[in-house]
Symmetry: C2
Subunit: 225 residues, 2 copies
DNA sequence: CGTCTCATTGACACCCTTCAAACGAAGTGG
DNA sequence: CCACTTCGTTTGAAGGGTGTCAATGAGACG
């Protein structure tokens, strides 16, 4: 049997076949409902009231910030089991969209925050969760500020290989444009870097979304910096 | 009377003249001691055990990650009142150094974590704190991934103007190299961008560390993106 | 097979980096 | 008071990595 996701990333005992809209309980301890979003659909917008906190059940989600002239930076991708949409204030600081068809669990923010005032285990879970995100964004800043295009791409591929359940082939749920906006590059540069890695024998492309890591050791070394 | 820092950033009722080493209590609710670091001195290193959590009392601190070949990315600068050094695991994920002569309050991590298991207000404070840092790093990622040199510098100056207590002149505690490593640029580019902003009449340099914001509205607009 | 969308490739431009030198402020010693 | 040093900043010239613009290629789907 192959797991749908590594154990430390398993969401929780939801049955994906249960009808949408039925109330269930999140591991964080509050009730909520599932919602389905088609590829590209917006889950929430920047500045919108942050009434809900979300957990990915299947598919993938991106959160991003957009400048007035359209330049976009993707903060992170969220995979099954990941929580997103928690904000320090009343409004969302970034927008969220489905990278591919996705099922997300949404729970009301207010009950969660109220529970965290009385249940220390909940507030500590929230604390741990945001620290985890913070750690990721620190690595991301190093990448955006100081790494070359190929180093960025390798770091991204290794991160995905670690997070996505698959041994030999990493299936990327996102487009080149998403990767570019995550890595602070253009789609052309991502594409060129990808073929360069293939020419160097580090990876092998099986179609543009499936990547075989051919020289995992070298890739690890470069990703580690 | 002029405040040493804006009200929302005031650290706590420590008397800076108290002798170093004497035990005091942090607003987070645990005891600790003050420590003095000269400019450039390391407070903790990457990979080092994260035994303490810190709060800046005076001066400024930087946290950064360094690649094996020396490339450096500064994650953030911490000013009086700011807490730094909280980690999800047992080890520090970044290093911390004094940007200028600085006094920091250090409290043991373990008692703080134990307190947060029973006192919800503490774990919620920690949660809020890490969410605040996360929000900052999201803005920082947008800056590093998608903004031009001058946009980065303007964002930095406006952020400092907001955080540093001064009406007309912003005094930067850090060197050009620090600014460069924070903004993902080189020292030369920062210097050039700075003189360009001066030539454009947006700022005025009074020595290389004192900046007068001449056209605050334009600067705000550009910083907002 | 045609259409649509997305990915790849090429040519060229440009912003930022690199390398190098000059400049300036602060501190030291004669 | 004035060289002299040191360290950090500024400025200049040249090069390179990534962006831009444009055309081609490759899957997916009806």
């Amino acid at each position: 049997m192959t797991l749908a996701y590594p154990l430390d990333r398993a969401p929780f005992a939801h049955d994906l076949r249960r009808p949408e809209g039925e109330s269930e309980r999140d591991p964080l301890g509050v009730d909520g409902v599932r919602a389905v979003y088609a590829r590209g659909k917006e889950i929430f917008a920047e500045e919108e009231d942050a009434d809900y906190v979300y957990r990915v059940m299947s598919g993938a989600v991106r959160t991003c910030k957009i400048l007035s002239d359209g330049r976009r930076q993707i903060s992170d991708f969220y995979l099954p089991g990941d929580v997103f949409g928690i904000e320090p204030g009343e409004a969302h600081r970034l927008s969220a969209e489905a990278v591919c068809d996705a099922v997300v669990f949404k729970m009301k923010r207010k009950p969660l925050m109220m529970l965290s005032e009385t249940d220390c285990s909940v507030s500590r879970k929230l604390f741990t969760l945001s620290l985890h995100n913070l750690t990721r964004s620190q690595d991301h800043m190093l990448l955006l500020g100081r790494k070359s295009a190929s180093e960025r791409l390798i770091w991204f591929l290794m991160d995905m290989a670690r997070r996505i359940p698959a041994d030999r082939i990493v299936h990327l749920p996102m487009s080149r444009q998403d990767i570019a906006d995550y890595l602070g590059l253009t789609i052309e540069t991502v594409s060129r870097a990808m073929t360069q890695l293939q020419d160097d024998g580090l990876i092998e492309l099986r179609g543009c979304r499936d990547v075989v890591l051919r020289d995992r050791d070298s890739l690890e070394d470069i990703a580690a910096g």
